[in-house]
């Protein structure tokens, strides 16, 4: 279906990524927001606080991030599209109830504008260090969806996409922004409402009495209902059966957790979104996401100018990870170069998927600023040597001084 017009600010704007994310939420039909201020994500909350009253949305600033996350789950059960936003420390606090959202299968969106960590780290400066936390940060085994925008325009588009995916698969969807993308200001074009595709809640057509809250359909995603409609559902964070009733057995656990994984894994092909360039004849492929994909541009252009055969993959869906794409490429390329503003997170996935078929070169940065494109350029050159070439150590190992 198409976006409802009252939330859509059609036109060309000059927005930063945080504000664009807020507009994306509005266009997607989000009408409940609970959040807690944290740099560099606060502007999302601020814009929503200003915009919601005119479109019938409820904004509430909660007492902390645990409360924010819990509140959006409650609001989703109340029948509304809901989101929150945060950054590293708050993301950690939200993990508890992100787990509840996964277990109760609640559609909702969490935007994480990443900064440097661990702990308070670099509050105002960029990082991409929560990528593994996005995948595994809550306890237990589960599937999750995470998107990574690389511009304000994308913050708008991908936030809509996040809402759509969360409704479709009934899972919290994480919009993994970063401080640079959140705070950079660029032109953002917001289309007409009837050009914006939004996915409505998958409400059960069954009447109360026949409806089972966790009876999965063919694609492994159960239909939902709204509180207050007479269904008198029960839902719990405990392992449960199709009625939503707790069942403390290994069999029930296996059935439920495998489905929670499978609804994402089995649909990964439909969920995946990435940009590829020149993969057919590439000797080296640069795999990047978020702001780093734009920094890598300079290095790739320089390498192309030198006549090197460099391909590119920009991950938009980071989770589920497009392993098949990497696996296929590994058979016909020499190396993957993976720059990211962390000490090597998504590179581990690339390496796993490549399974030794091609070299994987991690280009790291601990955060606080983006890469010097030179480091990515050098990694591309190094990658041309491919497998088998002895890897030159970055510097000679220092000899331990004898005491």
């Amino acid at each position: 279906m198409k976006a409802s017009p009252e939330g859509v600010l059609t036109g060309a704007h000059y927005l930063d990524g945080d504000h664009a994310c807020a507009e994306g939420a509005l266009a997607a039909g989000c009408r409940f927001f609970a959040g807690y201020p944290i740099t560099p994500s606060t502007e999302i909350a601020e814009r929503i606080a200003r915009r919601f009253p005119k479109v019938g949305g409820v904004f509430i600033q909660m007492e902390d991030e645990m409360a924010s996350m819990a509140a959006i789950l409650g609001a989703a059960w109340g029948g509304v599209k809901a989101m929150t936003c945060t950054s590293g420390p708050g993301f950690s606090l939200m993990m508890e109830n992100i787990g509840l959202g996964i277990m109760m299968e609640v559609p909702c969106v969490v935007a994480n504008v990443q900064r440097g960590g661990p702990s308070t780290g670099l509050p105002t400066m960029v990082g991409q260090q929560d990528m593994m936390q996005a995948r595994w940060g809550s306890h237990g085994d589960y599937g999750i969806i995470a998107l990574s925008p690389n511009s304000p325009q994308e913050c708008f588009n991908r936030t809509i996409q996040a809402f759509n995916l969360s409704e479709k698969y009934r899972v919290p969807v994480l919009v993994m922004m970063d401080e640079c993308v959140g705070h950079m200001t660029e032109k953002v074009v917001i289309p007409e409402p009837d050009e914006i595709e939004v996915v409505p809640r998958r409400l059960s057509p069954l009447p109360p009495g026949e409806y089972l809250p966790y009876a999965a359909n063919g694609d492994k995603v159960p239909d939902m209902v709204t509180a207050g409609e007479g269904y008198r559902i029960h839902t719990t964070g405990l392992t449960h059966d199709e009625r939503g009733y707790p069942v403390m057995t290994a069999e029930a656990q296996d059935k439920l957790v495998r489905r929670l994984r499978a609804k994402i894994d089995d649909n990964a092909g439909k969920i995946h979104d990435y940009e590829c360039k020149r993969l057919d004849e590439a000797d080296v492929v640069v795999v990047s996401y978020g702001i780093t994909s734009r920094v890598a541009r300079a290095a790739i252009d320089a390498a192309l100018d030198d006549g090197l055969r460099v391909g590119e993959i920009r991950l938009i869906t980071v989770w589920p990870f497009p392993s098949g794409l990497i696996r296929d490429l590994a058979a016909r390329t020499k190396a993957f170069v993976v720059p990211e503003i962390n000490l090597g997170q998504i590179v581990l996935e690339v390496e796993r998927a490549a399974a030794g078929g091609a070299r994987t070169i991690s280009v790291t940065h601990a955060g606080g600023w983006v890469h010097d494109p030179q480091t990515i350029y050098h990694a591309i050159r190094e990658g041309l040597r491919g497998n088998g070439a002895p890897r030159k150590p970055a510097r000679k190992p220092r000899k331990e001084k004898q005491p």
């Binding site: 279906m1 409802s4 009252e6 939330g7 039909g29 989000c30 009408r31 409940f32 609970a34 009253p53 005119k54 479109v55 019938g56 949305g57 409820v58 509430i60 909660m62 007492e63 902390d64 645990m66 409360a67 819990a70 509140a71 959006i72 789950l73 409650g74 609001a75 989703a76 059960w77 109340g78 029948g79 509304v80 599209k81 809901a82 508890e96 109830n97 787990g99 509840l100 109760m104 939004v198 409505p200 809640r201 409400l203 057509p205 709204t226 509180a227 207050g228 409609e229 007479g230 269904y231 008198r232 559902i233 029960h234 839902t235 719990t236 964070g237 405990l238 009625r243 009733y245 707790p246």
Partner: protein, 295 residues
Amino acid sequence: MEPFLRMDRFPHIWCPGCGIGTVVTCFADALKKGAFDLDRVAVVSGIGCSGRVAGYIKLDSFHTTHGRPIPFATGLHLSNRKLKVVVISGDGDLIAIGGNHFIHAARRNVDLTVICINNFNYAMTGGQVGPGTPVSALSTTTPFGNFEHPFNLPALAASSGAVYVARWTSLHVRRLTNSILEALTKPGFTFVEVIAPCPTLYTRRNKLGTSIEVLGSYRDNCEIRHGADPSTVDITFGGKIVIGKFVDVAGKPTFLESLDAAMQRALGKEYGLGKDYYMRSAGQRALVDREARHD
């Protein structure tokens, strides 16, 4: 009781003599007395023995994470104004790990009824000291007697802004039922503390006798003092328990009333509320249709 309970989930997990079942009965009776539309009442619980209440009540019921039922309920209520949202959980859940949420929901005067079953310990995990455990009481983590000052729950609720504060015990079923009904009917953050025995892990360990004996001690030890200053109703080990309705404030606007008033003042007709935008925007034709059928 049957329309109120999920009979297909019985037998329940609670021990014989546990006070939680009595609170469930009183809650159901209050709903019946108040002739509430049960399709429009939701119960939210956290974790613990009392947290299991949501699982047995045949309403829209949500068994959430430890300490978080109040913010979950806040979201549920704010997104769906037609719902009457009730939080039923334990002292550890609501006052220790959830303490921050408790005071802030009271401060905002969110229209929720919170029923806290206080059995003076963490029962589900085996009887550890809790935020309401009286000084000198034994628990598995205070093997030599508790030496921490406990929270006085009514004082905490009242000082945080609750508009209705009462305390009863699981012995006082008639008064408790009426009190829950009053709380449910009153707009704003309403709070009922219920002192209830946990024979398995608290009263036996503390040599307070069987559940029946404990209820007897409630009869002997409780003093009904309506309107008592909440700061004077501390509970001491073996001491008198002051019960009654302590706070009943009239006219304090709820969170949503304050929100609506502030926005109408600031934005006038531009305030988008009442247009049910959120339902249409969420792309939920089906929901709107069903709502129409329901009314």
